[in-house]
């Protein structure tokens, strides 16, 4: 009896704490969303008030849609983010597999080499990167961005994925070899499906900085045809005038797709980390 009651009160306490923190996490997001559909006057007169008859105003969204082709920016962001993620996951998994599966000279050193990239911000290499892209005629193409983000995502991907690869049973792989499968088939048919959850982990961690990056789109692909959503939103942040309606509207729009991507990955993510990457 008393045990049931104490467990009930413990559940209530757990929910109370979690709800409190959820409110802390979501409150600022709520502030952004309600203010993105209010007039400027209303934003600053009552930032916490819900949009109502006097304050509801879609000016932010209409400004955003007028100033630039946001549908195209959105498409560019999607192409860049998804393609980079695919490449990071594919190449990262292949390298991680080689590092964790085979013993060869320089294995450890190569692992360390691939981890260096976590420790220096890639932005410092801007000039050399840009020179390379100019020489390769890749400026103002999405491919330039994809290459940079792939390089930027690989170190963490290799780091996390090689931990996972070690957990895949040797018996399984050896059975495959006895059946005459090539190493490539072992990787693609046997190992990759087993580490899918780990791939989701890497996908979530890599996706956020790519989607939100402002710097490389500005440097490598600022043309109208290749602008990303984050770069497009910057148009409203001026030297002296900041169009808060438009900034809030465009950035609220930018949250949604990345949230959807997160939800797609997150089921796999939890299973992924659970499978033992961080043990």
């Amino acid at each position: 009896m008393s045990q049931a009651r104490s467990s009930l009160s413990r559940t209530i306490a757990a929910h109370a704490v979690l709800i409190t923190y959820t409110l802390i996490a979501l409150f600022p997001v709520f502030v952004i969303l309600i203010n993105s559909v209010k007039s400027r006057r209303a934003i600053f007169a009552h930032p916490l008030a819900l949009p109502g008859p006097g304050s509801f105003d879609l000016i932010g969204f209409t400004t955003v849609l007028q100033q630039g082709d946001f549908l195209r920016y959105f498409g560019n962001s999607m192409i860049v983010t998804v393609t980079s993620l695919v490449l990071v996951l594919l190449f990262g998994a292949m390298a991680a597999f080689a590092l964790s599966e085979y013993r060869f000279r320089g294995n450890l050193l190569l692992g360390l080499y691939l981890a260096l990239g976590i420790m220096i911000p890639i932005r410092l290499g801007t000039v050399a990167i840009l020179q390379m892209m100019v020489a390769a005629h890749l400026v103002n193409t999405l491919l330039a961005l994809i290459l940079v983000y792939t390089a930027q995502g690989l170190p963490l991907a290799v780091f996390i994925l090689s931990e996972f690869m070690k957990t895949v049973s040797d018996d399984l792989k050896n059975a495959g070899r006895i059946d005459g499968l090539s190493e490539y088939r072992i990787f693609f048919r046997l190992v990759l499906p087993l580490v899918r959850p780990a791939m989701a982990t890497v996908a979530v961690f890599s996706m956020i900085p790519i989607w939100n990056d402002l710097w490389f789109p500005l440097i490598l692909a600022p043309a109208e045809a290749t602008k990303t959503l984050t770069l497009g939103s910057q148009v409203f942040i001026g030297q002296f005038v900041t169009n808060w309606n438009a900034v809030l509207a465009s950035l609220s729009l930018a949250i949604l797709p990345v949230l959807v991507l997160y939800l797609i990955f997150s089921r796999q993510l939890i299973r992924g980390i659970t499978a033992g990457a961080v043990k």
């Binding site: 757990a14 704490v17 979690l18 923190y21 959820t22 802390i24 996490a25 600022p28 997001v29 502030v31 952004i32 203010n35 600053f44 930032p47 916490l48 190449f91 292949m94 390298a95 080689a98 590092l99 060869f104 190569l110 080499y113 691939l114 260096l116 990239g117 420790m119 220096i120 890639i122 410092l124 290499g125 000039v127 050399a128 990167i129 290459l147 792939t150 390089a151 930027q152 690989l154 170190p155 290799v158 090539s182 190493e183 490539y184 990787f187 956020i208 939103s233 900034v247 930018a254 949250i255 949230l259 939800l263 997150s266 993510l269 939890i270 992924g272 980390i273 659970t274 961080v278 043990k279």
Partner: protein, 305 residues
């Protein structure tokens, strides 16, 4: 000794794409930049100065003052992140992992949302909330009778850095929460059952059994936080500006680096000194990572099954 095995081409094939892209697009440009730290530019001509720039960074008061200030601030930024983020992350994860908790997925997603926001949004919304003018924070404090606690924190050299660190915790709490949550789920049921047999339950069970088992995860989070914090830049830049006010009290190594490397307002960019700071940062991070790998991680491993 002769290796009878044939050349294992597949290893090369597996490694080639990652190594090639990573080397060409990341390592080569980065080291081209770090290399600049050994040179100085006089009248558009580059001259080799060896470690001269490092001597200047650490010896010339015009540079060393800013450097130590930024390093000290960065250290405090890291301490606050660690001290707040880890306990909250662990607590949230522990609650989420309690069996038969309804709505765990919803909580998890909600708490992760700040992590996916861009820095522009985070900077804007916290400036709006903490602004003394528009009344969100002051009114909320007033509603619970604590109005006197409100202060213009972001403009006060005593509080601004700590507040920035707390905003950073708010933004990134999702990552430690997720990782520790996962670690808690991986603890074998047998271990928990055995503890319950011995009458170890509730909080005591958490402290005695679970916490030691998730220490390696906390270690990994700590090192990721360390690397992240010592590279941090964007949040300060959008919230407090490139001069990291008030009076450089929120200046981190990252903001110091970007201001020096790319220049700001009337200050011209100085790629040589910028690269010097970047190399120093790289060194600090490398030392931190090595201390973790060789000093801490090996000890933590002892607790594993």
């Amino acid at each position: 000794m002769a290796d009878k095995r044939p050349v294992r081409w597949h290893i090369g094939v597996f490694l080639a794409p990652a190594v090639a892209i990573y080397t060409a697009v990341m390592i080569f440009p980065l080291f081209a930049t770090l290399n600049l730290s050994l040179y100085t530019t006089v009248h558009q001509v580059s001259q080799f100065v060896g470690l001269g720039n490092f001597r200047k960074l650490l010896g010339d008061p015009n540079w060393s003052g800013q450097f130590w200030n930024a390093l000290g601030n960065n250290f405090w930024f890291f301490v606050v992140n660690m001290a707040v983020q880890n306990p909250i992350g662990v607590a949230l994860a522990a609650l989420l992992s309690s069996p038969r908790l309804r709505g765990a997925a919803i909580y998890r997603t909600a708490i992760f949302i700040p992590t996916i926001l861009s820095f522009v949004i985070v900077g804007f919304v916290w400036k709006l909330i903490l602004s003394p003018l528009w009344g969100i924070a002051p009114d909320m404090l007033a509603a619970v009778g604590l109005k006197s606690l409100f202060a213009p924190w972001l403009g006060d050299a005593h509080y601004a850095l700590t507040v920035m660190a707390l905003i950073s915790v708010w933004q990134f709490i999702g990552i430690p929460m997720m990782l520790i949550y996962a670690a808690l789920l991986t603890i074998p049921d047998e271990v928990i059952e055995a503890a319950e047999m011995d009458g170890i339950t509730g909080m005591r069970q958490f402290w005695k059994i679970k916490l030691p088992l998730i220490l390696p995860s906390i270690g990994i989070i700590s090192i990721l936080t360390f690397v992240g914090n010592f590279n941090a830049f964007d949040l300060i830049y959008v919230t407090q500006g490139a001069l990291a006010g008030p009076n450089f009290s929120t200046d981190l190594l990252g903001t110091f680096l970007y201001r020096t490397f790319f220049g700001f307002q009337l200050q011209l960019g100085d790629p040589n000194m910028g690269a010097t700071i970047a190399t120093a940062m790289f060194g600090i991070i490398l030392v931190g990572v090595c201390i973790y790998l060789f000093g801490i991680q090996t000890r933590l491993r002892r607790y594993q099954f």
